[in-house]
Symmetry: C2
Subunit: 340 residues, 2 copies
């Protein structure tokens, strides 16, 4: 099969890779219908995270089951399925508490590499959720978004306790931040402030439900959020970047007793204890347990109540994965969908 491989920072190639095979009786093999490039794929692409030899890339996927192992009982060949970036058994105590991304048997899909024609999905029963029937093609981008960016933005909004009567601020205007706006709207937030200085992203944020846009960043961004909230700060803040500045901007923008939901993968972040202590905020985040939300998100998409697929503003054949990375790295594209 064909699949992407990162050889070195900036060097993504699509090349022949071995077809995946069932390795465990709990595995499934899927034919990938759509995959995409994640903001987190840009960290090694930019050389900020180490690249360990040629590495298969990608952890977002939707597709049709080709084959299942002997122990798989809940999904069958021919079904269209959505999974997320961690395979999980969905039965252990941690999964049952809703933290499937930290399942005691969790396996990261990123090392398997789903930017490919086929993919092996471990723990298929726990990991995959089938759609009611074969989806209309126009639903595929949204179902793919559920696989990571929608599920992650949704988790951030839940972690930030977004809901009726709440003012929610969103730090980060990538796909996750934008879908955090959509999630906050769905969860009933009263006011949603998108922090963005990029016009097409501001526009999409408003389409997804943002009521205000703030262009300032850092301490100025914090001051602006306070101006908009009677000096108190937002009730709920979604952090979807992962830098020191964005974390401090998120914490500083939250009122005492408010909630920060952070999902930007932390890079060189160090939180000053005293500042955090006296902020009196709730802080929760980490790798999103997307699996928790998949059934609900798939239903919302199926019923055409949400259209998260709009974050894909560029679609390319898998063979052009290098250009997909390049466009996102340069912020020419919010998110690129790849068709194998």
């Amino acid at each position: 099969m064909r699949g992407t491989v990162l050889h070195a920072p900036g060097d993504v190639r699509v090349e022949a890779r071995d077809d995946p095979r069932l390795e465990q009786p709990t595995d499934a093999i899927i034919r990938v219908a759509a995959t995409c490039v994640c903001g987190s794929d840009l960290w090694p692409y930019r050389g900020i995270e180490a690249v360990n030899g040629p590495a298969p890339m990608g952890h977002e996927y939707v597709g049709v089951i080709e084959e299942v192992g002997a122990d798989v009982t809940t999904v069958t060949p021919g079904q269209f399925v959505v999974g997320s970036f961690f395979a999980s058994d969905n039965t252990c105590d941690i999964c049952q508490a809703g933290y499937q991304s930290r399942c005691v048997h969790a396996e990261p899909m990123g090392t398997i590499g789903t930017q490919a024609q086929l993919a092996r999905i471990p723990l298929a029963d726990g990991t995959l959720v089938a759609t009611p029937t074969m989806p209309e093609p126009e639903l595929i981008p949204s179902l793919l978004a559920a696989s990571d960016v929608l599920g992650t933005g949704w988790f951030a909004a839940v972690a930030a306790a977004a809901g009726p009567g709440k003012t929610v601020a969103v730090v980060g205007d990538g796909a996750v931040g934008l879908l955090g706006v959509l999630a906050a709207r769905q969860l009933g937030a009263e006011r949603i402030i998108a922090m963005s200085r990029h016009e097409p992203r501001q526009k999409l944020a408003r389409e997804f439900g943002a009521t205000d846009v703030v262009t300032e960043r850092g301490d100025e961004g914090v001051a602006r959020i306070k101006d908009l909230t009677s000096g108190l700060g937002a009730h709920s803040v979604i952090e979807a970047v992962g830098t020191q500045e964005s974390m401090m901007q998120a914490i500083g923008s939250t009122r005492p007793g408010g909630h920060v939901g952070y999902v930007g993968v932390a890079h060189d972040v160090s939180l000053p204890g005293e500042k955090l202590f006296f902020s009196s905020v709730h802080l929760h985040g980490g790798p999103a347990p997307v699996r928790r939300f998949l059934p609900e998100l798939i239903q919302l998409i199926w019923d055409r109540k949400i259209n998260p697929g709009k974050v894909f503003d560029l679609t390319l054949p898998l063979e052009q994965a290098a250009e997909a990375y390049h466009a996102m790295d340069q912020r020419r594209a919010i998110k690129t969908l790849l068709t194998p």
Copy 2:
């Protein structure tokens, strides 16, 4: 009147201070029935926090109202009252959300200094809670504990989401940690693991409801908690120290999706973002909004359902405040009550 003054690290004196007077129509003056030395008073006493000139000390107090300002309507002279270490209006949006320690009009009692015969209480209507009648003398230590250490331990247990079915670990065996054990028990926790290597404190922890004691600290302490929790970590962890080691011990001891309630005042703490991110814990804490819990705590004490006053293992006349600090600094006393 007589009151304590910290002149320099290690140099606490009891000396003549001006009698407090009503400064605002919302003030009250109380005659202090009992006050005490706080673990946080030891930070400047030890020179870890700067001492700014001769500073009045103390922020814990119970007493009888002597006089109230013209605007005070809910408490009257002659009533016995309990307050906490921040004066608060109890009406602003932040107070109404339960974060009175971050009231928009909050005033720290520590700068007023309640280790004295009299004290001015700002925002008396919002700050003070009267007991049903004049308390029996044996209830006074417990009511004084409600003023800070009980309220703080209680907040930590609530922030850590202690409750039925939960395993709660407690980092720190000072008065706050011990009362965190008591709070977790009252909140219905199934299993409570006190982390302490100090025998009298272990004993008090067990009296307050601890089911297990762990003597290891740091990474070894984390490993021991995991051993006791099927490798997963505790559901809820109370952090009541405020050092780098104790914070990392608390975060490391918590299972993914679990809750850390931290109330140790952070000193030179810096939380590594990546470790926090992948811990997937909820983190909440800060200066405890003790006022939120006072009515409930006073009732539990009044009904003799809890006896938090047991943390006072030394009682001295106010005049011997220097010895009170000395005994706590040397860990000869858990907490010292002072009678003015």
